[in-house]
Symmetry: C2
Subunit: 477 residues, 2 copies
């Protein structure tokens, strides 16, 4: 008899049929009630064991974490909290779980402890929910772009181009690290390396993505990106997944429209498809915040926050307006900011972004038209000659979730900018080909997927929303 998933059993429309379920014991109460979970849903199915006719050796082995197969009749439950339960006729222990040794006992574990057990934490309610939501959000990303006719592009992970300067890079090599071949000048002979040159892990697929957008019109990437930066914060990972759409003929306004519509779509998709998991995480968050002083608690519950983002347009504010707001703000005047905003041109720190989003506007904010000299070389210079068509989307509790821009489509202006910044024109000759041959206005953005998952799940540490986090000094598993 083929087993039925717990989710399907709980959604069953008929009862009294014989069913088989397989899963892991979450709890076993009164020598009688198994809460069985198979990962298909956060909800367990109650399996009622006929303990009087079950051998003690078997009952003893029904422990938290054990894998079991139960066969019996699906009936309406007399107990509260569940619609159906299984009256067990046959129980088989598939795999034991020694209660003295299994780390995931049904009690509260610290998030730190669970991180160290990333291969087991997914057996808890919270991490099961987070990982299901992450998966559904991934699919929402693909669904959104595919419906709109975007082409999914797998830009390279190992890259010989390291000119973009988006961040510190990891090196990739197959040379023997303890005996590097040298050339005649005494330098490392990368000609002997696997690719015949020095290679790194990508920090962004944007430049390659642009070459595809200038042929296929609308493209998006969704893949891993890397930063070798020693940032031990709750918002940074050394390995994370990024989504980078790029659209020919889109200007910055189209780009903002796309980003806002996209984010609202994926959040709505999660609300529509992850109700049980989100409800659980909402409760988790409320519980967690009980230990905080009243002033630090969220004004909205998790679901309220998600719905708020759907129902309100993101506030679009130019960098110049933002500087004015910040300069006049109480924390700036009272010198509560670590970095006091004095004049136009200052780079915004996370404290300023948070003030704008969480205190001043109290909604997602799109900042645009930043000073050219604090932004990347490929961004479209405005007619004022000092700002570029950049945009950042800032989210409450998360900070920057999207960074994007209209790209500089003018060959001469782009090359001049590269010269000023010392970026090797020959290295990026292939990129410049997009401006040499059939150049046109185009725009795109990057969205850090884990920051989106962080927002949707209400978790506060980015290490808790990726299966196996990579951070400084940590590459376990």
């Amino acid at each position: 008899m083929r087993h039925t998933k717990v989710k399907d059993l709980l959604n069953s429309t008929t009862t009294l049929q014989e069913v088989n379920a397989k899963g892991w014991v979450r709890t076993f109460r009164n020598n009688q009630f198994i809460a069985l979970n198979d990962g298909s849903t956060i909800n367990n199915i109650q399996c009622v064991v006929d303990f009087e006719n079950t051998a003690d050796q078997i009952l003893k082995r029904i422990t938290t974490g054990a894998a079991v197969s139960v066969t019996g009749t699906l009936v309406e439950s007399k107990g509260s909290g569940q619609k159906y339960e299984i009256q067990v006729a046959k129980l088989e222990i598939l795999g034991d779980s020694d209660p003295e040794k299994f780390p995931m006992q049904p009690k509260k574990h610290s998030l730190e402890f669970l991180r160290e057990n990333a291969h087991l934490r997914v057996r808890t309610n919270a991490f099961g929910a987070i990982m299901r939501i992450r998966s559904v959000l991934s699919f929402a990303v693909h669904s959104y772009f595919q419906q709109k006719g975007f082409v999914y592009v797998n830009t390279p992970i190992i890259t010989g181009a390291d000119a973009e300067g988006a961040g510190e890079m990891f090196q990739v090599t197959s040379l023997p690290l303890d005996n590097m071949p040298k050339n005649e000048e005494g330098n490392i002979d990368y000609k002997k390396d696997f690719f015949g040159k020095h290679t790194n892990l990508t920090v962004s697929g944007q430049l390659e993505g642009e070459t595809f957008a200038m042929a296929l019109g609308q493209i998006y990437t969704f893949g891993p990106t890397f930063r070798a930066e020693n940032s031990n914060t709750s918002r940074h990972l050394a390995e994370f997944w990024m989504i980078e759409p790029e659209v020919a003929f889109n200007d910055l306004d189209n780009n903002m429209d796309l980003a806002e519509d996209f984010i609202q779509y994926v959040i709505k998709y999660a609300l529509d498809n992850c109700g049980d998991d989100l409800k659980f995480l909402e409760g988790r968050l409320l519980e967690e915040e009980k230990s905080k002083p009243q002033t630090e608690r969220s004004e909205m519950t998790l679901l309220e926050k998600l719905n708020f983002v759907l129902e309100n347009n993101f506030k679009r504010v130019s960098y110049t307006e933002a500087i004015d707001i910040l300069r006049e703000s109480t924390p700036n005047k009272k010198k509560k900011f670590s970095y006091i905003i004095k004049e136009w041109g200052a780079d915004l720190q996370s404290e300023h972004e948070r003030y704008l989003v969480e205190k001043h506007f109290k909604c997602p904010v799109i900042l645009f038209d930043y000073p050219a000299n604090i932004k990347a070389f490929y961004m479209r210079l405005n007619e004022d000659g000092k700002t570029v068509r950049a945009m950042d989307i800032l989210f409450p509790g998360i900070g920057e979730i999207v960074g994007g821009s209209q790209r500089e489509e003018r060959f001469d202006v782009l090359v001049e900018k590269m010269k000023v910044l010392g970026i090797d024109e020959k290295e990026l000759s292939w990129y410049l080909d997009t401006r040499r041959f059939g150049s046109a206005t185009h725009s795109g953005f990057g969205l850090g997927f884990e920051r989106l998952v962080l927002f949707v799940t209400g978790m506060s540490n980015i290490r808790d929303v990726i299966p196996f986090p990579r951070t400084p000094m940590n590459a376990e598993f």
Copy 2:
């Protein structure tokens, strides 16, 4: 006025409205007819220029590769080959394309030349089609698993676990390669590296995926994997995308059913959604094969081959039966194989796989129950004590497209096997936890995504179905 995509214009249900289209000139005939493409479809829209009332300086700039914006009336076309065309009222050159310099002129280019111009080849009909099909196939992969309730898992790319031995690995480091720190014993001091240990690029997400399957039930990965193997063949890449489903409570038969159903689903999805692109590639293949001797040409066209896979079950053959067939085969007896099959236990080479698939069975074949000693340590040992519950799926023209197995769920048997093979138990202690706590039958497989794209597009070199191929001595872009 917002532009309309060429695909939507060609699918329009009304005419005579004013429209704007933006794209790249594919050809410009008789100073009058622009074939305009914007990547949304392989089909161009014909734009008829009023050349008598258009300045010569503008007409001269309508060259292959130039980006243009045309505004005019959508009318039924009098010419053959297209339903609609645009009577151009206004034409704007967005970006020039010097015909002396633009490499993608409308003539036949060699695949080698196009590979060197991977950033521009996507502007050709063939590569536009391939990349759109690749994208649709990716979405089919996600759709299939998500519909069935699988959870998408992003297993780590950078890994500290290098015990699996699936292939040569690339090293990842942030240490200065020309000045590696040494410890007291004179060895490289990996404690000073970013992760505090030696790390590599993943060769497979299977082991991490198993830990998630044993909590969430059904999971799949779809991400980049790496092999630092010096294989300069038309079937190998150093960086490729792999799909790895893993299902708790599935045995090998369920695993074969899943793989077959999955492959048929994604091929059907491509047939249903990529008609124009597949038709073009079918023609391309016919053209290419004209230069081959009759005996080397395919018996079926591309679409026939794809439909054949849908309509016929994959032939399931045990390794033992396969050896018998091969031993008795003409090429074996006549010593035409490079490796003559003498006895049970021999590892099958690509020539043997091709014989089975292309000559003997003439359909996709699933080989199963291989000798234990030619397969990986984690595969379930059969009761005969000498074979394991492994399976490979072999495709005509492609060879191995899937490799999978039922996993050894018995802790003691698995540990014993690791000891024999010298695999460090401590290194994989987290993996063994799946067998320590709530172990159960489970199975999974890996499908090399590019091999699938190769099969569906009818291309013959794997470098032509990934945007920017990584192979020995090649990491351009």
